[in-house]
Amino acid sequence: MSYPSQGRRLPEGGLIDRGSPLLFHFNGRTCSGYAGDTLASALLANGVTLVGRSFKYHRPRGIVGSGAEEPNAIVQVGEGALTVPNMRATQTELHKDLVAASVNAWPGVSFDLAAAAGGLAKILPLMPAGFYYKTFMWPQSFWRHYERIIRKAAGLGRAPGAPDPQRRDKINIHCDVLVAGGGPAGLAAALAAGRCGARVILADEQFIFGGSLLPGDAAIDRRPARDWVGRAVDELRAMKRVRLLPRTTVCGYFDHNFLSLLERMPGQPLAERLWRVRARRVVLAAGAIERPLVFPNNDRPGVMLASAVSQYVRRYAVRPGTCGALFTNNDSGYTAVLDLLDNGISVAGVVDPRTTVHGPLPGRVRERGVKIHTGCVVTNVAGRRRVRGVQVMTLSQAGNTVTGKAATLQCDLLAVSGGWSPAVHLHAQSGARPVFDESRACFVPGESVQAEQSAGAANGVFDLAACLAEGHAAGAAAAAAAGFSAAGGGEAPSAEPAEQAPLMPLWLAPAPPGHGKRFVDYQNDTDAADLQLAVRENYRAMEHVKRYTALGFGTDQGKLGNINGMAIVAAETGAGIAATGTTTFRPPYTPLAFGALAGRERGQFFDPLRKTAIHQWHVDHGAEFENVGQWKRPWFYPRPGERMVDAVNRECLAARGAVGILDAGTLGKIDVRGPDAAEFLNRIYTNAWDKLKIGACRYGLMLGEDGMVMDDGVTARIAEDRFHMTTTTGGAAHVLAWMERWLQTEWPHLRVFLTSVTERWATVSLAGPRSRAVMETLCGGIDFAAAAFPLMAFRDGTVAGIAARVFRISFSGELCYEVNVAAGHGRALWDACMEAGAVHGITPYGTETMHVLRAEKGYIIVGQDTDGSVTPMDLGMEWILSKKKDFLGKRSLSRPDCVRKDRKQLVGLRTMDPQEVLPEGAQLTDSRIVSRPAPMVGHVTSSYYSACLKHSIALALVKGGRARMGGTVYAPLVDGRTVAAEVCSPVFYDPEGAKQNG
């Protein structure tokens, strides 16, 4: 295979595997890189400098950073269902056949329509600070036009259009010490804590540990730092209680030292894993992010962080330019110049606003013959798609303007360094507030509010020797706080302290009149003038300025520009940086996919599917299922060629004419036991329970404290001190919790135990005139004669040889028996019933037929015919409200609102056209022709076609409904028709109850 040459790759060096070349594709071009590259380093090696267009002005943009801070190299990675938007090329590990494209360039990076027109700002004239507020707010009707253009022009990536084929999972883990960041401080901390015997997790977002040591030539313990990293990792790997997580970003820090970590495993069967960590102690060693400087046209491709220049040259062996220059206000930036020179790249000069520049690093640069323009700033960058040179002017005495004649440095690469911002993100997420340190000119961690401690650069400590010492001490202290002896931590690694002169804060470089834009937030095109305008318009609080100017709103969350922005605002308001403060640091630290949060909880595992003991029979016999709560219940059993309506009509007629069989095992069942059980039920239900005879059942209604219907069901008295309660399928858990709450918190003196026995029983319901015959075939020891075994009674016996409890209760209005057996025998019971019932035409029916049958009888379903705002009186169930005792909800029933005459009441509806089935939820009006908005008098709660009655039936809640019997209401439908219906009794079938009592 042939690989395109990597014209900008240095002939040797770097932490890349030159033996493993990799082909990849960027914006349609085939390129090559090496294992160990990021997409960004590989692009630079291939001479790709233009990676995107800016959001607002569509200015060409290049790679600025080398890590999480990157604002410009935002790419769409992968194709089809695997595509991921808004990845940072600087954090994208290169792999074979990687496909990536710029997200923020339409139709292309090199030819960009919007840029040709002068950017969005030209398409939508004037985009100053507060653009969103000023433009999109008015006129409102124009938003759809703005939105269409902006979405397309702004890019921001595409979500995949197909289901995610990758496997993602979550894992919960506990540890004594979590170390976030595997640089010098983090490695030292993990070593110390691990040696103490603590359970340690060390996570680093990069694919190799080492952090800032990777490009450098520092020495630790008098050996090259990279060797020390290797030995440290080996030692940690050998510790059984230490877990190393490379490619893992600590993305969120929540209450109670709960943190979330995203681990990426490219090319593995498990693509990503979300670690949900509960850590006793946390050491934050997340390092620091170098700040850029804010000067005219500082966004030209080729302007790059000094630390990124060093990374690309030394770690990736890439030449990010052919001739460099440096603009820095501190000593550390000079490292980049040395790295360039060491690798044969010339440096045109250094621009440093400090008037005296001493210290070892600038000294070494001077020795190499590079001119340092002290007391100067960069006032312009020439070149549009690539830096062509920089203009340098002298700072005035006061430091607020520039003077003199401009000098020019010819270069195509400008390294910039404005100092370092500790990565205080996780510290801030933990609830703490970073504080501004004037002497170091950066925000450093404030007082901890959780069990965490920052170490190293994340703590504002930038010297390697100090980082190592602080990391080691933090690791040992964390282990000690977790209960281990800190004495086991061993020796701290050591390095030579390096001397650095203090930086000169330079938040906004002065510029001559007519200067170009000085960008603060590259991703959102926020420039210094926008921030200043916001302050002039009286936005003073940082959170307001952020929202007004979009500073830090991008996918990078302002990692690069926010601190500069805050300082510029502070200067403008005069409030000072400390008082101005930061905006809120919110998780995640870097974006993560929704799929990572979902893990395996999707598709069949989104929620448990509960199955009855007879489930497989239903599957084998072609049932269509419906979800009732988490249960899978048979909905109807279509025969070949049958539509749903055909199947339901057939099932209804079979239950009314012969015998139907229903799997009723999902009903909630609660054992209520104890000397005070009857008294307990008196309080829970609206009706009285003390006089219920053993062997008998009673229907009960439960109300909430507001007097509204909450649940219903039949409860049987098994013994003097023992009841078997049934609840609705969906309400079972809530009812048990509700009753436990009253028992435990209000009535602890009642001696009652409540136990869910839903799962213990399988329940098969036989309904229809032939059900008695089937039961008689199957049973021994039970007399089924109507007088011996009346409605609302139960008997113990055997059914098909299985110990059973048979209830004679009816939700269908038919003669009906509900047989309860131990769940393991449910299937055998069902099979026996089917066999014994065959000669009687036994027909399985599902929940739809169950609903039709009960609606024909006017029996409500709590949650369908009630909605939490319906009283028993509204349902015409005054008869179930005991006047002789108190019960939950009773007092609420006498509230004025509950006794209004015009409350909605349950009625039946018969459509004038018997074939017309009203839609459930249909609103009802008083007249056929209504003006809008129409006064609505009620709504349909249940509606079916009744095959038995040969006309449609509906239940409805209608204002003052019971006084409207025989009157007409109208249902205006979505299709424009209006259907007339007569108000009638909700009991359509067998009002005398002869059938169920027969």
Partner: protein
């Protein structure tokens, strides 16, 4: 009387085995159902000396009174579920006898003894090697600290596992392998089994 079906009957039938069983692709996690165990749900007053002594006599061990601990008696294990609540697990054989003697022990007292055997089952997870893959499988579904130092044999925990209520019971088997029994309600057993089967592929590098 017909033979009862365990909650994972259909999994067993599909696998052609007497009870549901599964080995993860890489062999690090084994899983099987322990069907038809006795599951007895006992409620009673922990300060009632007569209740405690009679139950102790019936079980051959005292009811554990320390939260989230277990006791092992002649008849099986007893799990503390709450201040007045215990779960008694017994072997499939002899389950009727244990129930009978417990019923006798609590007769006439303010106590509740319910045979929950038909409504529950146990899924046993066995970890080969150091047990980490098996624990990682469980860690993907529950938030407890499962490290043997923190959750040793003799402890139990009621928790939500993969959105399902389960009781976890860690142990070390005769081959010194880490294992954990999951007591689960019948209607959730199939969901839990499939969830564990699918998850096992992700933890032992086999799939």
């Amino acid at each position: 009387m017909a033979e009862p079906q365990s909650p994972l009957h259909d999994v067993a039938v599909a696998g052609g085995a007497a009870a549901a069983e599964f080995v993860s692709p890489g062999g690090a996690v084994r899983m099987c159902e322990l069907p038809f165990l006795g599951h007895f749900h006992l409620r009673g007053a922990p300060d009632d000396a007569k209740f405690l002594s009679q139950v102790k006599a019936a079980l051959g061990c005292a009811l554990p009174l320390t939260p989230n601990t277990t006791a092992a008696g002649e008849a099986g294990g007893v799990l503390w579920l709450g201040p007045d609540e215990w779960w008694i697990l017994t072997a499939a054989g002899g389950r009727a006898e244990v129930l009978q003697s417990l019923e006798k022990a609590v007769a006439g007292m303010f106590a509740s003894l319910i045979d929950q055997s038909p409504g529950h089952t146990v899924i046993r997870i066995i970890g080969e090697g150091d047990g980490e893959p098996a624990r990682n499988l469980l860690r993907s579904g529950c938030t407890l600290d499962l490290h043997p130092e923190h959750f040793p044999p003799g402890r139990c925990a009621q928790t939500v596992f993969a959105k399902t209520n389960v009781t976890l019971l860690p142990a070390e088997d005769e081959k010194n392998r880490w294992r954990c029994d999951l007591v689960v309600r019948r209607s959730f057993a199939d969901h839990l089994w499939r969830w564990l089967e699918e998850g096992a592929a992700g933890v032992d590098g086999g799939g």
